[in-house]
């Protein structure tokens, strides 16, 4: 059976370095709701590949700089 993976993200750090971008501003840039950004940032929701790319694009970085994963035992 495939091992479970946990998706992690650096959104809070990236927002800080993007001139303390608000969650609402990020939501607008990524075309999502603020609620979704809050959930993604808190690790409560793993976004679709499309939204993940749009979030990365909003910061002007690659997707790997925003999201990473950890294999859970």
């Amino acid at each position: 059976m495939a091992k479970k993976i946990e998706i992690k993200n650096n959104i809070r750090t990236l927002r800080f370095f993007a001139n303390e971008m608000t969650q609402q501003q990020l939501a607008e840039k990524a075309g999502a709701s603020r609620q979704t950004i809050v959930a993604v940032e808190a690790g409560k929701y793993a976004p679709s590949l499309e939204l993940a790319f749009r979030i990365a694009e909003a910061f002007g970085v690659s997707i790997g700089e925003v999201f990473s994963y950890e294999v859970k035992e």
Partner: protein, 168 residues
């Protein structure tokens, strides 16, 4: 609390109120001896009446909810900026009302629970009929299970908004 959560809570409360009103109206009439339990026409009328009441009440309550939400945003703006701007309120409302992939996923997952409850109710109604219980009981089991299913769907939505949701 997000717009979607608030709207879902309002919908759940409306559903509970409608179900309670139906029970008070229909079972009240039967208990008072005004209508007979076996009168299927009465039950059909009561259920149709409350389906209509439910639709109208939902529309009215949603309108009132959106008015109150706008007032809330205006008050918040007044406190924060010292002035109220119609365009700003409209923009904030639009941003709050954005529905994206997470809302759709939560909607689908909770709908599954709603359908399951309604389905169990439907089968239970048929089983009750097979066991020679009154057709009125079957109608009530089906009607109430559909309502309960819809209420549980809302509660599941609130749960997923709070706890988070995963694909698969």
């Amino acid at each position: 609390m997000s717009y979607q959560e608030k709207r879902t809570i309002v919908t759940v409360l409306t559903g509970i109120l409608i179900l309670a009103a139906y029970c008070i109206y229909a079972f009240g009439k039967v208990n008072a001896g005004i209508e007979s339990v076996e009168d299927l026409k009465f039950w059909a009328f009561a259920m149709l009446l409350f389906i209509g009441v439910g639709v109208v009440a939902n529309i009215i309550i949603q309108i009132v909810f959106h008015i109150l939400l706008s007032i809330g945003i205006a008050i918040k703006e007044q406190i924060q900026n010292g002035s109220v701007n119609d365009d700003e309120i409209e923009k904030t409302l639009e941003l709050e009302m954005v529905e994206d992939e997470m809302d759709k996923l939560i909607g689908l997952k909770s709908m599954r629970l709603g359908f399951a409850v309604a389905g169990i109710g439907f089968v239970s109604g048929l089983v009750a009929l097979m066991m020679d219980y009154s057709p009125a009981l079957m109608m009530n089991i089906i009607f109430i299970s559909f309502n309960v299913g819809s209420i549980l769907e809302g509660i599941a939505q609130i749960y997923y908004y709070r706890k988070g949701v995963n694909h698969g």
